[in-house]
Symmetry: C2
Subunit: 352 residues, 2 copies
């Protein structure tokens, strides 16, 4: 087996012990709460890892793109898939219908009538039923219907369209207003005698507060598999629970307090959100990463007692693991200093 | 020929008329100034576009990674290549020596003795000469030697190592202190009777001030080929000179002033640098792009008189075209509403 030391840099490595513990810990938490675990595979885009999540007890998977569903269906990862994106336009709706035929259950979400009508029309032509959840904006301010009443109205409209089967409500992420939104929406559906089998929440930080959302029947977390600096900063993980690291070499020490790595935005990305800097250097925890160019990472060593030399290898926990997966064609699964496996990031680059 | 309308979204398109004009305009400017044009291919990573730049009059190309040199050498784009990165460690130095044998001229840069000694050792074993430029930090604060004296000392040290051929000085980007730095360095070399055939500057915004740096013998610009929101904000281009656009569909209109696109950081990236927001929507120039998720782009329509509907297609000029190239496996060359060509982004994903 190849030693990790023989991996040229930069390389994206996954600590297998940590990743396996992350999979197990979240599954146990969800089992304890009685909430179905439907992990989001956009984090890794690797069918083998989806299979590990299923083997641990997931009820199915979540995908964000049609291409992800296709790759994971081809690999036989799960026969129960939720696609959490408004699918619009005939090239995509035709692909969706083909997948609907192949999978035991494929559900989609939408938040507007145009998407609903397009799905119904495609379903009617294909002679299949489309199972759907209404996407609700419960405080995040992205897409989703804006009120419980709008969720109810859109569901009722769509239920009247040909070949459309209502399955429930969906949000991302669970935030404080989510409980009130879903409680009111569920009252409306109950008042109309409409069953709501699925209430689906999402987000890895949101797994810390799942008990505050007793109406959820399932939850979609993605990042928990690898974890990253955002999860540590939101207290959803510790550095020791971060499985993804970008292996990088110090290629320059231009000043006493500056080191330059051979890893920049083309592997770590510019994602910051609420995190300061662009990553966490495991070997030099007092170091900061104030800037990245495309192929250079700038490290500030001002707070470090020990400082790396040119040629030293370090490991950087990225701010956001889900986007790093999307930068590379393969990641390396490592254990005990050995490269145990190399995974192709099979669903990378499938932009549609 | 496929109509652009038939491209499913998101898709990265290149307006061929604009790109060809950008190539011609910069080449003419460089010819007028008498500075050799050595375009940086990290912007596009496509051999066919490197050939267009060479046909327009470039003296050679610039690469940032060994993998880029390999792909462009395989495609026969140029026999004169500058690799502007510290190349360190035997897997990379061996690959570099193989390329040195294949190309008429392959030059590298470095800013420290460790890299110089590694290159010399590999060159000696391979029986080839390594042509090198000293990378200078002339105000950017990334890598590079910090003073003209350090540049002189490192060059002299490296010239004494086996199989090392000094060719000159290099910086990125040309900034105000660059002229003083290079003037002083050139005095030192002249005083020691050492010829400095190449003084290499870089950056697309820096093409606006090339006449302030008369010591430059060549310049490396990359972004100018496509241009992007950063170039417009730095006055190096107009929106009409931006050739790269991300074609995206409005998939949701959750509120009166919000639209959601099917393009997020996994195609546009989070790069911002000095630009507000995450892109420029051509059809709605008053719109802003305050946020991106992985697969969603959030558009603020507050300042727009006309507003798009769900299903409408828009085109977004990204903040930074060079990183968008790295997100996709292919880009589409379009002209007059037709897809004239599809290019594989051949050097994408070659992380080492």
């Amino acid at each position: 087996m190849t030693s990790v030391r023989d991996l040229d840099s930069p390389a994206v490595t996954i600590d297998l012990d940590i990743m396996e513990a992350n999979i197990k810990r979240l599954q146990e938490q969800m089992n304890h709460l009685g909430i179905a675990n439907r992990p989001h595979i956009k984090t890794h885009k690797i069918p083998a890892l989806g299979k590990l999540q299923m083997q641990a007890g997931a009820v199915g998977i979540t995908c964000q793109k049609l291409g992800e569903v296709e790759v994971f269906a081809d690999a036989g990862v799960a026969d129960d898939v939720l696609l959490t994106f408004n699918i619009l336009g005939w090239p995509k709706t035709e692909r969706l219908m083909a997948l609907t035929r192949r999978l035991k259950r494929l559900a989609v979400v939408f938040d507007n009538e145009v998407v609903a009508r397009g799905l119904s029309e495609a379903a009617r032509k294909a002679g299949v039923d489309v199972r759907f959840l209404i996407e609700c904006d419960t405080g995040f301010g992205r897409n989703g219907v804006q009120t419980p009443e709008a969720a109810f109205d859109l569901a009722r409209l769509a239920m009247k369209l040909p070949n459309m089967v209502f399955e429930g409500l969906m949000t991302f992420p669970n935030k404080e207003p989510t409980a009130g939104f879903f409680t009111r929406a569920l009252e409306l559906f109950k008042g109309a005698g409409i069953n709501v089998p699925v209430v689906s929440g999402g987000g890895t930080p949101a797994t810390m507060t799942l008990k505050d959302f007793p109406m959820l029947t399932e939850h979609r977390a993605g990042t928990y598999l690898y974890n990253d600096a955002m999860m540590v900063h939101s207290k959803a993980a510790t550095w020791a629970q971060c499985a993804m690291r970008v292996r990088a070499t110090v290629v320059s020490r231009p000043t006493d307090n500056r080191a330059i790595l051979d890893a920049g935005t083309k592997v770590l990305t510019s994602d910051q959100y609420y995190v300061q800097g662009f990553g966490h250097v495991i070997e030099y925890p007092e170091a900061t990463v104030p800037g990245l160019s495309e192929e250079h990472g700038t490290i500030d060593l001002t707070q470090c007692k020990e400082k790396p030399a040119v040629g030293d290898v370090v490991h950087v926990v990225p701010n956001h693991c889900c986007v790093v997966s999307n930068m590379v064609d393969q990641v390396y699964g490592v254990r005990g200093g050995k490269v145990e496996t190399t995974w192709k990031v099979a669903a990378r680059g499938l932009v549609t």
